[in-house]
């Protein structure tokens, strides 16, 4: 019974909610709203579980005198300050986030700057990671490097013109490298590399011709839009289809009681 009952409840709720989603008519809409309210209540309890788990984790760190216990102390003190301040603001103003509430002051002057600061650090990490990751190691990584450079410069004003010296350096460098590799081969393999290297060098040097550089600078934002609209959309769509098919399969396994991990 301990297994059958939860499986039965899951089965009935799963099938009912699926049916409700596809029939947007009365009285199904009312029932759907009722279930979504239940969802909010259940997720509220999940929040309580999360708080319990977070506090216990940090309390244990303090108790066993962990070297990072200082951060745990800060976390627990901040948690209770925010909680008690929230209750007090609720008592005084009727709601903690109402206009004029002191809790709103705490939120605006402490939480918001901290949140913005944390996110702004991302720019530095991305820059450092991009420098290390974008290396022309093979054909795939070179394609990734080129498309990243085009999108980066295509998504800023004047980017097409800023891109030109990079284009020149990249073409000359890559062309010379391929030309150099050609010297290590003989016959057909060597000729192909010489031709490819020469083409890259030619297009690199062509940047000095204003007609070509103007066209190229105008073309970079167009190319960037094309990358976002077609290869990117195709990739995103493939990921989404895979993700949703996986979610459907997993949901069906739970609804039909094949997957019972949540009972344990």
């Amino acid at each position: 019974m301990q297994v059958q009952l939860p499986v039965l409840v899951t089965f009935i709720s799963g099938i009912a909610i699926m049916a409700l989603f596809f029939i947007p008519r009365e009285p199904f809409t009312q029932v759907e709203q009722l279930t979504t309210r239940w969802y909010v209540i259940v997720s509220g309890f999940a929040l309580l579980l999360g708080i319990d788990s977070l506090l216990l984790y940090h309390w244990r760190k303090i108790k066993r005198n962990d070297k990072d216990k200082f951060y745990s102390i800060i976390l627990i003190i901040s948690f209770f300050i925010a909680l008690l301040w929230g209750f007090w603001a609720w008592y005084k103003h009727g709601a903690p986030f109402i206009s004029g509430s002191s809790y709103l002051w705490l939120f605006r002057n402490v939480y918001l700057p901290l949140d913005a600061t944390m996110f702004s650090l991302l720019a530095f990490f991305i820059a450092s990671a991009a420098y290390r990751a974008f290396r022309a190691r093979n054909l795939e990584s070179t394609l990734l490097l080129i498309s990243a450079a085009i999108v980066m410069m295509g998504r800023v004003p004047f980017g097409g013109y800023i891109f030109l010296p990079f284009f020149l350096l990249f073409m000359v460098l890559t062309g010379s490298y391929i030309f150099y590799i050609g010297t290590k081969y003989t016959g057909y393999n060597s000729i192909v590399r010489y031709i490819l290297g020469s083409i890259l060098l030619f297009f690199g040097i062509l940047v000095f011709y204003p007609g070509f550089s103007n066209v190229l600078a105008q073309f970079i934002p167009v190319l960037s839009d094309w990358i976002m609209n077609y290869p990117n959309s195709a990739g995103q769509r493939a990921i989404a289809i895979g993700l949703y098919l996986g979610s459907i399969a997993f949901s069906l396994r739970i609804i039909f009681g094949i997957e019972r991990g949540y009972i344990r």
């Binding site: 997720s43 109402i98 918001l112 998504r155 800023i162 150099y180 990117n232 959309s233 995103q236």
Partner: protein, 280 residues
């Protein structure tokens, strides 16, 4: 020579960080005006708002917090500027708890004050309710199902804007919304499209952070959304279209310099990498 190439290939991250700090800060002081050619998806978003007539209703959802403030707040302010210039009624809500509310309220109060718009007559702040899907489905029947009271804890049907938007039937639902403009820094936008656009056919436009933009292009390409404003460049484009020099117009120069610096570092890393291979 080998030593130099190794240095190029393994530049210390603290050097990168230091150069970046200057690349961000210096353009902020120089205030360089940059030319702009708005991308088509931003022009479509602008046109969607521009096509609204006086008295039409614009529903805005500010589903972002201060972390996305530099990218989304300029668009929100520009959209509100455009809406209030055209005397469009604005309803504002959020799924991002109080962060979304704070950024939304600060923008709408600032722009409404500039245009002498009155709360409860020209705009209404619905506020926040938990349960993303539940809220979206609840709004489809009657906004009062979810937002019985507004941000200031007063019944929403006590305001003149409610009676004006609700018309004869006395209820506001998605049928009364002329356009939805979502400001997204998370996955809530997917729910807006998958639940509200797909089921109720609401016309939608989105402003999203640069990291989220690639996820929204399939929706844009499939005409599920009419326009897309992505990242700071999108915000700058939108400000240019509205002819407003706001935060994005100031920050875009920093973005140009940072992108250039990152590309320069990538190029240096590759010079070191390729030449070291040649010399080996």
């Amino acid at each position: 020579m080998r030593k130099l190439l190794e240095i190029l290939e393994l530049i210390d991250r603290r050097i990168i960080y230091t150069v970046l700090i200057f690349a961000i800060i210096i353009p902020l002081f120089l205030k360089i005006p940059l030319p702009d050619k708005p991308s088509q998806e931003v022009v479509n978003a602008y046109n969607a708002v521009e096509s609204l007539k006086e008295g039409d209703v614009l529903l805005i959802s500010t589903d972002y917090g201060p972390s996305a403030y530099p990218e989304l707040q300029p668009v929100l302010e520009a959209v509100l500027e455009q809406a209030f210039r055209k005397n469009i009624k604005v309803l504002l809500l959020t799924h991002w708890r109080h962060e979304g509310l704070i950024v939304g309220v600060s923008a709408i109060e600032k722009i409404a004050k500039k245009h002498n718009k009155k709360y409860g007559e020209d705009y209404l702040i619905l506020g926040f309710r938990p349960g993303v899907a539940g809220v979206m489905i609840g709004l489809s029947e009657d906004f009062r199902n979810v937002f019985r009271t507004d941000y200031y804890n007063k019944p929403i049907d006590s305001y003149p804007i409610y009676k004006e938007v609700a018309k004869e039937d006395g209820i506001i639902n998605y049928n009364d919304i002329s356009l939805f403009f979502g400001f997204q820094a998370g996955a809530t936008g997917d729910s807006w499209i998958q639940i509200v656009q797909a089921r109720y056919g609401v016309k939608m436009v989105f402003a999203v952070t640069a990291v989220m933009a690639p996820n929204y292009f399939p929706y844009y390409q499939a005409n599920q959304i009419f326009g897309l404003v992505g990242g700071l460049k999108g915000a700058f484009d939108y400000e240019s279209l509205v002819k407003l020099r706001g935060l994005a117009s100031l920050l875009i120069a920093s973005q140009v310099s940072v992108h250039t610096i990152i590309l320069l570092f990538i190029l240096l890393g590759n010079v070191g990498f390729i030449l070291r291979r040649v010399l080996r």
